[in-house]
């Protein structure tokens, strides 16, 4: 920070740095800080469930109870939102929920990196799901899957218009799914950083009055961290619930 002038830079926390340079066939496949935190998340998820499932006791230990609760809550979410038929796709939904959740929550550790704050990550997840779910719909129902774009009870005159709208709004789904998660994570972390800069700027100003005033952004940040932890869990849930809803659409054609 330059002397006497507050330089606010909330965006540099999202910069991707390569940790190991690696390229294959002209493509840059460097292992970055984003990759590191994804690896950490996967290792922690695997560790959590391996430890939780290690001693399968009738009276569960704390970690076993936590693992069972996590499993049950996602299983219920899939059953409630996508129907019992969707339970065969439970493993992928479970994996996605925890990948997003751990990405969001790991990002709350100061100095860490939030890989879900990058649209390339969320869009890749959303597009993969969208393409798989659409293919699943065609595999299940064949060409009849397209009938969901043709609502009943619409006058023939405006039917082509409505069908076009339905198709376009279907295509927007992965984008809204990706942007919702990415924007929430990005905005939250930027806000935390801006208030942290305020606190540092005021507390290093040298004036007693301003230094006292500097406690306000600190208090604000404490509240914001609570809010952001809630948002981290909520956004992982919303991402998963919407995936389930889209999956239900592919499995069940309602008319």
């Amino acid at each position: 920070m330059s002397e006497g002038k507050l330089h606010i830079d909330p965006i540099s926390q999202f910069a991707i740095h390569p940790l190991f340079e690696f390229s294959l066939g002209g493509y840059n496949l460097a292992y970055t800080n984003s990759s590191l935190f994804m690896t950490l998340a996967v290792a922690m998820i695997a560790g959590f469930f391996l430890l939780g499932g290690k001693h399968r006791e009738l009276v569960p230990s704390r970690i076993q109870a936590a693992g069972e609760m996590a499993y049950e809550s996602i299983a219920n979410m899939v059953r409630d939102n996508a129907g019992p038929d969707a339970m065969r796709y439970f493993p992928i939904i479970f994996a996605i929920f925890f990948l997003v959740l751990f990405g969001n929550v790991l990002g709350m550790i100061p100095g860490s990196f939030t890989y879900t704050s990058h649209i390339i990550v969320t869009l890749t997840l959303a597009l993969t799901l969208f393409i798989c779910i659409t293919l699943l719909g065609f595999a299940r129902h064949g060409v009849h899957f397209l009938s969901r774009f043709v609502p009943h009870g619409v006058p023939a005159l405006i039917l082509p218009f409505i069908v076009a709208l339905e198709v376009l709004s279907y295509l927007v789904r992965p984008l809204t799914l990706a942007v919702r998660l990415f924007a929430n994570m990005l905005a939250g972390h930027m806000m935390l950083k801006v208030f942290a800069y305020f606190a540092v700027g005021l507390m290093t100003s040298g004036s007693i009055g301003l230094m006292a005033l500097g406690t306000l952004p600190v208090l604000m940040n404490v509240a914001l961290i609570g809010l952001e932890l809630f948002v981290a869990v909520l956004q992982a849930m919303i991402f998963t619930i919407l995936t389930c809803v889209y999956l239900r659409d592919a499995l069940v054609i309602e008319h």
Binding site: M77, D80, R148, H152, L165, T176, V179, A183
Partner: protein
């Protein structure tokens, strides 16, 4: 009580007990149903931005500035509003809202 009336699994028994206590939700109620039905403004923003951006790209490619971008923004607005309309009906499954409303 006859043995065959006893539900087999714990979740069945809980469901029966909830039903008897008047707390029951029928099988079709989902977590999504219990969430607020407020339309999400993000649907509108994303649709307008996505189609506007597509139009912008098409304009640069075909050298038709600014018409395709304007068309894209308009389509995005209509699609976004359509999504909001459907969200406000509480119909996430495609076309369900229309079917229910018309009947």
């Amino acid at each position: 009580m006859a043995a065959e009336e006893t539900p087999r699994t714990l979740s069945d028994r809980i469901a029966t007990a909830r039903k008897n206590a008047g707390l029951a939700s029928d099988a079709t109620e989902t977590l999504d149903d219990r969430m607020p039905k407020a339309p999400n403004g993000l649907e509108l923003v994303v649709a307008v931005c996505a189609f506007g951006f597509l139009g912008f790209g098409a304009d640069r490619w075909l050298d038709t500035k600014p018409w395709l971008m304007l068309l894209g923004l308009l389509i995005g607005l209509v699609v976004g509003l359509w999504n909001l309309h459907r969200a406000s009906l509480g119909a996430d499954a495609l076309s369900v809202g229309l079917v229910k409303k018309d009947r």
